[in-house]
Amino acid sequence: MGVSVDTDTDFIELDGVEKVFDVRRRTGFLRSERREVRAVDGISFRVGRGEMVGYIGPNGAGKSTTIKMLTGILTPSAGSLRVAGIDPSRERTRLAQRIGVVFGQRTTLWWDLPLRDSYRLMHRMYRIPDDRFRVNMDRCIELLDLAELLDVPVRQLSLGQRMRGDIAAALLHDPEVLYLDEPTIGLDVVSKAKVRGFLRDLNAERGTTVLLTTHDLTDIEQLCKRVMVIDHGRLMYDGALAGLHEVGESERMLVVDLERELPPIVLESEHSVRTVKVEGVRQWLAFPASASAAPLVARIAAEYPLVDLSVREPDIEAVIAKMYASASGL
């Protein structure tokens, strides 16, 4: 478990980072109850320069809190945190020059003004050299299809258009790392594809380090080699996407169509194979994701009147759900 990273190029470093909130709940007119919430509970990881990492977990797991600490918005309660060698909470404005942030739920653009005005202001605010600004702007306009939108006030943009506008705004100053908090939330299929394609190119061509949180596992499948899973403020998994299946003890499904209705298939000596469902001539057999389907298919073909078959890959969502379930059962 874990992806080996050359320590020389560690760009983001977290060591035992915690964030504890004091939540006050009003119980009477003046009385209130204090409760400690450990939003992030001792997280350590490293991300190398140029990596593209998915950061996933259920609502309230601590994803956004982590991003807020990485950008310097929130100060960690404990542990150490470095981005490009900078302590984000101490040197927030200095770090801001080197990072780009996209919040899926809220825009960093000026709501009442046309996109063009927001970009103009970014140009001055980040002190972006004119030639660099022009190159980056032209690139974003082309790849994110912004030409038609530049004179439209942000509030009139659709969610997908606004998201593209936001991503452009986050990249005009050539940040070394881009944080995306739910960048595809609420987008239609076409917009999602456009955003993913852009991010993939950005990472490949410019070597921009990308850390993205998402609910949409397709984002991770299509973009990230490495995935980190967080729940209850703890890192549950950090490694390749494929390895997630093994950790989650996931199963693949062999779906077979037989010539006629038969009782559930039983294969002697194959204890890891279970027939989970029978529906007329069709039967579903679950087997470990790590095992090969070939010998299994051969045996069924030898012992049963096989007409057709297909193999279904495990659903990552189910894998993660299983991981959560087994973790909370401990």
Binding site: K68, I73, T75, S89, D112, M125, D130
Partner: protein, 292 residues
């Protein structure tokens, strides 16, 4: 987006992220404030008619306020021992000072909403001070309406009043307006800082800013001594215009204060800014440790 941007500053450019040149936060803040205000002005000027109408509306709304005082003086000759031109001096100076502060810092009272809806976070990831971004947000030039109304009443007072002008009294007028605006601005900042903790407190802030400005439009003699004491020593609003204006008028000070207090407003403004700045920092720090 190829055309170059109209330049409003001549700041030195450097490669972002390459070399970090430490700059004074005040200089950075003022620069950022200027950039954002320039953007809002450009956007306001895209709708000139709307701008003219809202500015006039702003002017008229505040002007009716003074009409009420004129009506009052159609029945009485003096109010709390003060004549109409004397009241006009107090009214005009408070109105102008408050109008200036409102023009420059009036957006601060939106901080609570920004904290509640989480949009403050988007300001925290930018490389410029948050205070400047909040203060310059939605800069509304129409608030000039209030400033010009105050200035008109003040002008009327200065022309009508029979004052024995000395150099000190002449200098006192601009000193009073600038220090007064600075004191009100500090109150705006302190009020916003309080909203980090209590996000629904914008009405509390309004009671000090708008409420304070209304209070100062009348002479101290019409109020109870305890209230006068409060706005002198607790929230030093009396230094906005009461004390300097009474000096210009050659009137007795409230609470038996000595003559020289009329020259304190710049110092009081400085102290207010120091306190407001500390409050702001504390508020922002609290926000960054709680995130709510």
């Amino acid at each position: 987006m190829a055309e170059s941007v109209e330049s409003v500053d001549v700041a030195v450019r450097e490669e972002p992220g390459a070399v970090f040149v430490p700059r004074s936060r005040v200089v950075e803040g003022v620069r950022a404030y200027g950039l954002i205000v320039a953007m809002w002005l450009r956007s306001t000027m895209a709708y000139r008619t709307s701008f003219v109408l809202t500015t006039f509306g702003n002017f008229a709304a505040t002007a009716f306020d003074f009409v009420a005082i004129l009506l009052m003086f159609s029945h009485v000759d003096v109010l709390g021992g003060y004549t109409l031109p004397e009241i006009a001096l107090l009214y005009g100076s408070a109105g102008t000072a408050f109008g200036l502060a409102d023009l420059l810092m009036g957006s601060m009272d939106r901080l609570g909403r920004r904290v509640r809806d989480g949009t403050l976070d988007t300001l925290l990831v930018r490389p410029v001070p948050v205070l400047a971004q909040v203060a310059a947000d939605r800069f509304a030039l129409r608030r000039l309406g209030r400033v010009s109304q105050g200035a008109l009443v003040l002008g009327y007072a200065l022309v009508t009043l029979d004052i024995d002008w000395t150099v000190a009294k002449v200098l006192m007028v601009p000193l009073m307006l600038l220090s007064g605006a600075a004191i009100f601005a500090a109150v705006f900042v302190a009020g916003a800082a309080f909203q980090f903790v209590a996000q629904d407190a914008s009405q509390v802030q309004n009671s000090f800013t708008y409420g304070g400005a209304t209070l100062l439009q009348y002479p101290p003699t019409v109020f109870a001594t305890d209230l006068v004491r409060g706005v002198t020593f607790v929230i030093p609003l009396a230094f906005v215009n009461w004390l300097p204006a009474l000096y210009v008028l050659g009137r007795d000070y409230p609470l038996g204060l000595p003559d020289w207090v009329a020259f304190l407003p710049p110092l009081v403004a400085g102290a207010c800014w120091a306190v407001a700045g500390l409050a702001w920092r504390a508020g922002l720090r609290a926000y960054r440790s709680t995130g709510s």
